[in-house]
């Protein structure tokens, strides 16, 4: 919980810097601050505790996920330096919002009380609305913000209703108490409904079919950095929270609930992959690929008791690959009015390093060995087969075959087409972020135990 406070402090600090006009310092300070906070968080790894009469419960799960979020935020902040070059005046706001967003995210995985959970979601979502619409003069961005806002607040309404029903059934918001009570035999009918409603709300956040429609549009419309944030941080946070919630509520004991999960996960994979095939806008394509990955992540909900580690691993692999990919996209699509695949033509010749990084991240998403994505899928498959859902795995495999189709469309564009124009400059931070992210990804791919064993 010191993490939470520290993060908020950092956010405020950013704003103050703006007042005192230390723009130059903002990014470096934030990065350093985040690093410090990361250390702080990790130090709590082995000291589970609960604060404010169980408002926050810090345990290995929350700590490891929070540190993942912090790392991702680090990358995103580092990227913003180059990304917001042209609006220096608002730099601090953007950074601060990201930091606050992070606080919301951390709250979501650390919550011990549904109130905390709700606040976390809202903090996250509201900051996202702002970021989505953040380029004021750009109609696309506005539209994205609006769509996201409408559907998001609608979803929060659903979640709120679900929480309310749970409260009604249990008479308490405390997750531990609820979890104990949910074991007991007769429960009012609206308790499961409550769970379902909350779940649906979260499914919306991680953009699972049929609650996924917002994702492509919003991803395309929002500024690329925000898209990166949504597709990596936001998605990961949502799935992690959902996982924690359902574990607490023992949702997995209910067979028909598992069927729902199976159906949704298969649907998400299939729809996401098939829709992605014909996209020409890279952000849109990645949005759909994100949907399919959501489907993969949902597979963890089929073996709640054991799959925490593999969820952490999958999310890490996925988000690292995503960060790497998006940093390349940011570099390539700088000062372009769209993110069409045409912009990537001949990147292999003009900028081999970034091209290689993008290729690597795409291969990781496609699940080719030595990249973390492969092991993520492998572990997932192995657990799902153990849980007895071979059919899901077969669908998953067929989908990963389809997915290769569109990932390679991008790779082909980079290596076989002629470059259209030269790009100036080699922004250090972007290169650094992309490189570090992909290297981490590969290292995890070679030594999966590093992460897999954390929550085992």
């Amino acid at each position: 919980m010191t993490t939470l406070i520290a993060i908020i402090g950092l956010g405020v600090l950013c704003l103050i810097f703006e007042i005192f006009d230390f723009r130059k310092a903002i990014i470096p300070i934030t990065i350093i601050g985040l690093l410090a906070i990361l250390g702080l968080t990790v130090s709590e790894f082995n000291s589970p505790a609960s604060y404010y009469n169980n408002m926050l419960i810090v345990n290995r799960f929350s700590v490891s996920f929070s540190s993942l979020f912090i790392v991702l935020t680090l990358f995103l902040v580092a990227l913003s330096h180059n990304f917001y070059e042209n609006h220096q005046s608002k730099l601090s706001d953007y950074v601060a919002i990201k930091i606050f967003l992070l606080s919301g995210a951390v709250a979501m995985v650390t919550f011990g009380n549904l109130a905390m959970f709700f606040l976390g979601i809202e903090v996250l979502s509201i900051s996202l609305y702002v970021l989505a619409a953040s380029s004021r003069m750009n109609i696309k961005s506005n539209e994205a913000g609006m769509k996201y806002f409408l559907m998001g607040s609608f979803a929060s309404g659903i979640i709120l209703f679900g929480i309310c029903l749970i409260y009604g059934a249990m008479g308490s918001f405390d997750i531990v108490e609820i979890s104990e009570m949910s074991q007991s035999a007769e429960l009012p009918i609206w308790f499961p409904i409550g769970i379902v409603l909350v779940t649906i709300g979260m499914l919306f956040k991680i953009a699972a079919v049929p609650f996924h429609f917002w994702a492509p549009d919003v991803y395309e419309g929002s500024p690329t950095l925000t898209t990166a944030l949504m597709s990596t941080l936001a998605k990961v946070v949502a799935i992690a929270t959902l996982y924690k919630l359902l574990t607490a509520l023992h949702a997995d004991v209910n067979y028909s609930f598992q069927i729902v999960v199976v159906v949704i996960s298969i649907a998400s994979m299939t729809v996401g992959n098939i829709m992605a095939l014909r996209q020409t806008n890279v952000k849109r394509m990645l949005a759909f690929s994100g949907i399919s990955h959501a489907g993969f992540m949902l597979m963890t909900l089929l073996s709640l008791s054991t799959s925490a580690g593999s969820l952490l691993y999958y999310t890490t692999a996925y988000s690292l690959a995503g960060i790497a990919a998006f940093s390349v996209i940011i570099y390539v699509c700088k000062n372009r009015d769209n993110e069409d695949i045409v912009n990537f033509h001949g990147l292999g010749k003009t900028n081999p390093l970034l091209a290689a990084i993008l290729t690597a991240s795409l291969l990781s998403m496609a699940g080719i060995p030595i990249f973390a994505g492969f092991f993520a899928k492998l572990v997932l498959f192995s657990q799902t087969i153990q849980a007895g859902y071979l059919v899901v795995v077969i669908f998953a495999v067929i989908n990963s075959i389809i997915s290769v189709g569109y990932y390679f469309k991008l790779i082909l564009a980079m290596y076989t087409k002629e470059p259209n124009e030269e790009r100036k400059g080699k922004p250090f931070l972007i290169y650094a972020v992309a490189l570090i992210a992909i290297v981490l990804n590969i290292v995890l791919g070679m030594f999966p135990s590093l992460v897999l064993d954390l929550l085992a």
Partner: protein, 106 residues
């Protein structure tokens, strides 16, 4: 207070708020004017608030009412942001009908 509940019964409260909630949903689904959509969302939230209060009295515990404050605050914040976005949209395309938001598709 207590006796009122006993007289009326918690179910009725639930039905009422569910009805309100559904009205909100339908509002969101059918109205095309962004402002009115906001209002419908507010109806949904307030339906929930009502239920919170009802449950908290039913359970004889204040947490529910406290939560209502949270949700109100959150709703307010949301709407603030929403309106801000709406304003910039209005400035850009001179309309607040959500039917004009169809540039992003496919």
């Amino acid at each position: 207070m207590n006796n009122i509940l006993t007289q009326i019964g918690i179910e009725n409260y639930i039905f009422l708020s569910v009805t309100l909630f559904c009205i909100g949903i339908f509002g969101v689904l059918y109205r095309r004017n962004a402002i009115i959509v906001f209002m419908s969302i507010e109806i949904m939230l307030n339906a929930v608030n009502l239920l919170f209060v009802a449950f908290s009295t039913y359970h004889q515990d204040a947490q529910g009412q406290v939560f209502v404050f949270f949700s109100m605050a959150v709703a307010a914040a949301e709407v603030a942001v929403g309106l801000a976005i709406l304003v910039s949209i209005f400035r850009n395309i001179g309309s607040i009908s959500i039917d004009n938001l169809k540039n992003l598709k496919g």
